[in-house]
């Protein structure tokens, strides 16, 4: 199978941005404020830095093997058995990440808007959307993310801008926190929200100009990080760190506190959740696509289409496992931290070994990769 080099830099950046911005935005200010109070933005920036680190490690790795994805080149770097284990972990992790994201959003919807609709329905609807679209090829994958990008960024920005009139800058000071240990775990929690960007490890072989992957990675993560930062700043500015600790989804509360000028809409929470479906869809789409693409590459299948609906029951069952919201967030935090090992430490290890062994892919970027 010939890989078609067709992704442009902008498309790659868009995929990265929309892979990061998702349901994690809703509890993000809570994570940040819990870890460091008024220094929440600092935590967010720290998490973003970790996200950058992960993406750049993958990019440097990917540029050594321009025609292969991380699943495909890892056996050449560290040998088949270890690489197989690593790849399996990646697949497993992203399957779990997909189910947790679907479950988290389903929970938000059921708690705040559709209070009598069964949780299963909201979860399966989101998963079906992602599974259906994940059957499409990488070109439509890229087009989808590019088209959705403005509709993901706009609602966040609108809420931030409109709520700034209620913000109190005093609440954002001091910008430095002091409890280093709590802040450290906070950074890890926030960094876990950037894990969708792992998709870059699969995109580089499809890029028209792989040498521009650094630009794509930089912009993709930056845009998402900026939105995260803005939302944390707005939430802390409006509510204050102490009040945020009382709120499960501060971003949603922010939307609730916001009304459009001239009271066209008096509160935006339900509208925000509705529009946010698009953002959650793109995140799910990325992790779902990543899961089945990795599976098809690991098991050398001809394409990933058939896997899409095959793994749906598994994902759905995993999504329904956590019992309550409290347990859900415990699991999310735990899985997120464990995931950092996979999304940052594992590629870093690969990069280290590859540079010691001087392992490299074919230099001819047009050669068929298989």
């Amino acid at each position: 199978m010939n890989i078609q080099k067709q992704l442009t830099t902008i498309q790659t950046a868009a995929i990265l941005t929309s892979s990061i911005i998702g349901v994690g935005v809703l509890p993000l200010p809570l994570f940040a404020a819990r870890a460091a109070g008024s220094a929440g933005p600092l935590i967010t920036a720290g998490g973003a830095a970790a996200g950058f680190l992960g993406v750049f490690i993958l990019i440097f790795l990917g540029r050594r093997f321009q025609n292969q994805s991380i699943i495909q080149y890892s056996p050449r770097v560290i040998g088949k058995p270890i690489a197989f284990a690593g790849s399996m972990l990646i697949i497993l992790f992203f399957a779990v990440l997909t189910s947790l994201a679907a479950r988290e959003f389903g929970t938000v919807v059921v708690t705040s808007v559709l209070r009598k609709t069964p949780l299963e329905v909201t979860v399966i609807v989101m998963l079906l959307l992602a599974a259906k679209q994940a059957r499409k090829d990488i070109r439509i994958f890229a087009y989808t993310h590019l088209l959705y990008l403005p509709f993901i960024l706009a609602p966040g920005l609108i809420i931030v801008i409109l709520s700034l009139k209620n913000a109190e800058w005093l609440y954002l000071q001091p910008i430095w926190g002091t409890e280093w240990k709590r802040m450290g775990t906070g950074v890890l929690t926030v960094a876990a929200l950037f894990q969708g960007s792992f998709i870059i490890g699969f995109l580089i072989p499809y890029m028209r100009r792989p040498e521009r992957s650094v630009t794509a990675g930089f912009w993709g993560v930056s845009i998402a990080a900026c939105l995260y930062l803005l939302i944390v700043i707005a939430a802390i500015g409006v509510f204050g760190a102490e009040e945020i600790k009382n709120l499960l989804w501060p971003t949603l509360e922010l939307a609730k506190t916001t009304s459009l000028p001239a009271n066209i809409l008096e509160r935006l929470d339900a509208a925000f959740i509705a529009v946010w479906v698009a953002a959650v869809f793109t995140t799910l789409y990325v992790s779902y696509f990543l899961t089945i693409l990795a599976m098809s590459q690991l098991f050398r299948l001809k394409d990933h289409k058939a896997l899409s609906f095959a793994i749906l029951p598994v994902i759905f069952v995993i999504a329904m496992l956590p019992q309550s919201v409290a347990q859900l967030y415990e699991v999310i935090e735990w899985v997120g931290r464990f995931g950092l090992l996979i999304t940052i430490a594992y590629p870093a290890f690969l990069l280290l070994v590859a540079s010691i062994r001087r392992a490299k892919g074919e230099s001819n970027s047009n050669a068929p990769a298989r």
Partner: protein, 410 residues
Amino acid sequence: MHPLVRRWVLLCIGIVMLLTLTSCWDRREIEERAVVLAISIDKATDEEVRAKEEISHLINEFPPPETGFIKLTAQIAVPGRIPLGPSEGGGASSPSMEPVWILSAIGYTVDDALVTLQQELADRLFYGHLRIIVISEEIAKDGLDNINDYFRRNPQIRRLTWLVVSEGMAADLINASPELERVPALYLLATMDHAVELGKFPNEFLGKFWTKISNLGSDGFLPYIKVKDEENIQLAGLAYFQGDKMIGKTNPIEIGVLMAIVGVPSGGYSVLTPYPDESHPVLFRTTHRQTNITTEIKNGRPEFTIDVALEGSIDEKLKEGIIQFDRQSTVQAFQEEVEQRAKKTYEKFIAKMQQEESDIFGFGEYIRAKHPSYWRQSVHSSDHWRSIFKDAKMNIQVTVKVRLVGMKAN
């Protein structure tokens, strides 16, 4: 069949199945919702408690609450009684055509009372348009923890709702039916919204109140409202809190003082200033305020410098004669007089709040933000901050600028 045809057919069947099978779990038409516009919370009297039915719990299951049962009164919009669009012909409101329905219930907690209320109502209660929550002074003095918890938890509640404290019975406020607006709750809402627009009250909605009481370095305050002549509503000052408990109230004019100290830009209060003597008062109206607060830690004690700049105009004077506002020197002298008096009022008000140990100005937040190391070392809790606040030194400077004197030449 062609696979794509099959897909369309399946999609259609799917939609029809969903429509019929799900029976639209959450669909509830707007007219089937009992739209609660306002809620008031009072202490229940003993007779009322005895008449309470066993709905959410058996009566003897829990000991009676320490602070007593509450009586919750809700104002529910009656669909069809509130006309669509500009009043369609003869808006004469006969008593039988009341646009709202007022119901009350007794409960152990807020939700308990609401569940009881639901029991006697066909339509489901809907709080998405709950615009105003009135609590009686008694309840406020016992603490708002329960009320805060319920309203924070319920996703339908707006954070932009007004929470107000009423003098006497809160239900009276809900029952008051002013002439200007057909729906009493909307009148109450308009009273508060316009007070903010006119600069008569800071925009202190429920969300902000929650923020203030959550913060370690500030205390909350709420509008204090009373009913006059059974149908008139007056903004009678502000109720200040210590934690979740109300501890006192101020005069209306002191709202203006508070707004000046925290620096709410739009000013709306007028003050009578005797100038040049007691028998010749002049009315000065503030239009803009700007406040700059700086903090210092001196000898392990916080010290605040509050720099208030007021801008305003002269609204009226009582008698013709002695002074004429046609020279800058006269205006200047008048300004100084206002500055003197304002400074004294501010000092007195801050001292009063220090005495009461209620930091409604949020001075503690300044210390937390600007002097984090002091905060960490010396302040441990909001209670502790209050005791520090009590002894904090306050320097107040007031600058007044009179810009306009109206259309009169002198």
